[in-house]
């Protein structure tokens, strides 16, 4: 990165502006005015979302965050199951994707020869360019049958467990084993959503990690190699610790993406506003619920509750993104800005 340039401000006497700064004030105000649109968008977003979700905030208060009932018929709205769905899918996707993303970043930066490294890192970047709907369509028609087949094989291989779980569920209970047994082999649900989300957020961590690993000074590697370390020892003890701040920032950016990911998740998660009963079960995330119900929401309270979901998402993503930037800036060792 280049250091911020400072264009020296020419001394100008207030009485007689020097001839070569004529028009500067107008230009500066024009640019400033257009830039202020960015702040205006931000403030306006908060104002509009808050204004429209006021009826729901008044009606449900903080209970909106803790109640799991989301029922447009009885006009009772609580977002807890969607919040849980969002957190579960995002963090599960993060846990699976971080090691994979790190592997690909290390491969590109440390293992691969140049002729292989460039195409691989380009492919990883293309992964980020694939639109959300396309991921959703692929998951719906290519991945769902695979998951369905797997669920069917679970059914046929454990007939006893299936009946036991069915009776337990009938009594409103569950057991540890039943938690892994699908209610019906439908394919759609939590697991499929996590798989898609994992693939979708991979490139964000991977590309940030690749860049910071490449920025680790060569001396750092050489010193470790000179001690007789193997390649893996160099990577794990000299490179990754050095790059960890940047990697953490990349992981948090990926988390931000995962929390707000909408259509791909909406297409495969089932969109049932309740907690998932099994790891395969149907549930919903905040974003998928907005996409799924906003168009049909007629009642004011319903609409307002959905917008409150949007307001929550807005604040969560502001906090997540801001802390990611903060971590990248603060924790990056000096000299590798």
């Amino acid at each position: 990165m280049t250091t911020p340039l400072s264009v020296p401000e020419r001394p100008s006497s207030p009485k007689r502006p020097s001839p070569n700064s004529r028009g500067d004030g107008v230009f500066r105000n024009l640019i400033l005015g257009l830039s202020l649109i960015i702040i205006a968008v931000f403030v306006l977003s908060i104002y509009l979302l808050a204004k429209d979700s006021l009826p729901a905030i008044r009606e449900f208060g903080l209970g909106f965050l803790t109640q799991t009932v989301w029922n447009p018929v009885t006009q009772k709205f609580g977002a807890a199951s969607m919040i849980a769905g969002t957190l579960i899918t995002s963090f599960a996707a993060l846990v699976i994707s971080v090691p994979l993303a790190l592997a690909s970043a290390i491969f590109v930066a440390e293992y691969a020869p140049k002729w292989l490294a460039n195409p691989v890192s380009y492919l990883v970047e293309l992964l980020a360019a694939v639109p959300s709907v396309v991921y959703g369509l692929w998951a719906l028609f290519a991945l769902k049958p695979i998951i369905q087949n797997f669920q069917l094989s679970l059914y046929t291989s454990n007939p006893d467990l299936v009946t036991r779980c069915a009776t337990l569920r009938g009594e409103g209970r569950s057991s540890f084993a039943c938690f892994f047994m699908p209610e019906a082999p439908v394919g759609l649900g939590l697991t499929l959503a996590i798989v898609v989300l994992t693939i979708m957020i991979l490139p964000y961590t991977a590309s940030v990690a690749r860049d910071v690993i490449r920025l680790v000074p060569g001396d750092q590697r050489e010193a470790m190699y000179a001690l007789g370390a193997t390649k893996w020892e160099v990577i794990s003890r000299a490179i990754l610790p050095f790059a960890r701040a940047g990697i953490t920032g990349g992981v948090i950016l990926a988390l931000g993406r995962a929390l707000g990911e909408t259509l791909a998740v909406a297409m495969v998660i089932g969109n049932v506003p309740e907690l998932a009963k099994t790891i395969w079960g149907s549930t919903a995330t905040m974003a998928s619920m907005i996409a799924n119900q906003f168009g049909d929401a007629q009642a004011q309270l319903h609409r307002s509750s959905i917008i409150e979901l949007g307001l929550l998402l807005f604040f969560v993503s502001v906090v997540v993104n801001y802390s990611a930037r903060l971590i990248i800036v603060r924790l990056t060792p000096k000299g590798i800005q």
């Binding site: 401000e9 257009l34 830039s35 690909s104 709907v133 160099v234 909408t262 259509l263 906003f294 993104n321």
Partner: protein, 294 residues
């Protein structure tokens, strides 16, 4: 970015031949190398899978009809995506206008007026805006525009434009900062006012980089359907008037893929193939342009 003097190549054999390396360390080293390679294969595999899948399932229905017809009435097979293609083009034009005007102005502000008291705030908010989920931007534009004026191509274009702004701000700021200070000083030494220096000297020098950034931003929002659901809404008829509801490629794909009708699903797959190829070509072109520049 191959600046580091030590690459895997020069130190391929990190332990010299003949040196003793305990079998444990040696096998851990080999094992982790294999694991890292395997991880990379797993990362790249989905992209190839998606591409092959779309070609296998969608290429067959890419006929002339796809580009020249509008969707067939419910229950009938056939039809095409003409309405979605034109809708995407119109809304991307609107989005591009908003994104370029505000985004480049923001980039100029951040790069050329670094001592302005508003600078840190604008940079921070622009960074934070880039992470706002697209669907939330759709909700904002809904209550800003749609509540009063109804669903329209303008509303959809505005939503996409708002998504473009932070991307364009960031790339144009970075590119403008790459223009050497000496160039600015040379302009000022000629007696030019600052605005002439920026508009006639700095901006032209950075144009290709800014164009690249704008292309990448367009490619990114061209695939967004979420913010269009409640703004452009979608329209099965051919509509070139941005004051009325419009369809867009990703949005039509979403509607058709979840419609449950086989012929619509096939169309959605063909549409996905077209969309993904266009986006890849745009980002490839943008990448080419940057590489030649540096």
């Amino acid at each position: 970015m191959t600046g580091s003097p030590v690459t895997g190549r020069t130190l391929k054999r990190s332990v010299p031949r003949g040196a003793t390396l305990s079998p444990g360390r040696r096998s851990v080293n080999l094992f982790m190398g294999a694991l890292i390679t395997l991880g990379t294969v797993i990362v790249v595999a989905p992209l190839i899978w998606i591409f092959v899948y779309l070609i296998a399932q969608g290429a067959a229905s890419l006929s002339l009809n796809f580009f020249t017809r509008i969707p067939a009435p419910v229950g009938e097979a056939g039809g095409g995506y003409l309405n979605a293609i034109t809708g995407s083009l119109i809304m991307l034009a609107i989005a591009g206008l908003i994104g370029v005007v505000v985004g480049v102005a923001g980039g100029i502000f951040l790069a050329e007026f670094p001592r302005h008291p508003f600078m840190p705030t604008i940079r921070m908010i622009s960074d934070v805006l880039s992470g706002i989920p697209a669907i939330v931007v759709g909700l904002v534009v809904y209550s800003l525009v749609v509540v009063t004026f109804g669903y329209s191509g303008f509303a959809g274009g505005l939503a996409l434009g708002l998504l473009m702004i932070p991307i364009v701000v960031r790339t144009s700021e970075e590119v403008l900062k790459l223009v050497p200070l000496a160039v600015r000083e040379a302009g000022m030494a000629l007696g030019l006012p600052q605005w002439r220096v920026i508009l006639s000297i700095v901006l032209p020098a950075a144009t290709s980089g800014i164009v690249t950034g704008v292309m990448l931003a367009l490619a990114r929002v061209a695939g967004e359907a979420a913010p269009l659901l409640f703004t452009a809404f979608g329209n099965n008829l051919l509509n070139l008037d941005p004051r009325r509801a419009m369809s867009a490629l990703p949005q039509q794909i979403f509607v058709d893929a979840t419609s449950g009708s086989d012929s619509n699903i096939t169309l959605a797959k063909a549409g996905s193939l077209v969309l993904i190829v266009l986006i890849f070509l745009a980002s490839l072109a943008a990448r080419r342009a940057t590489r030649q520049k540096r």
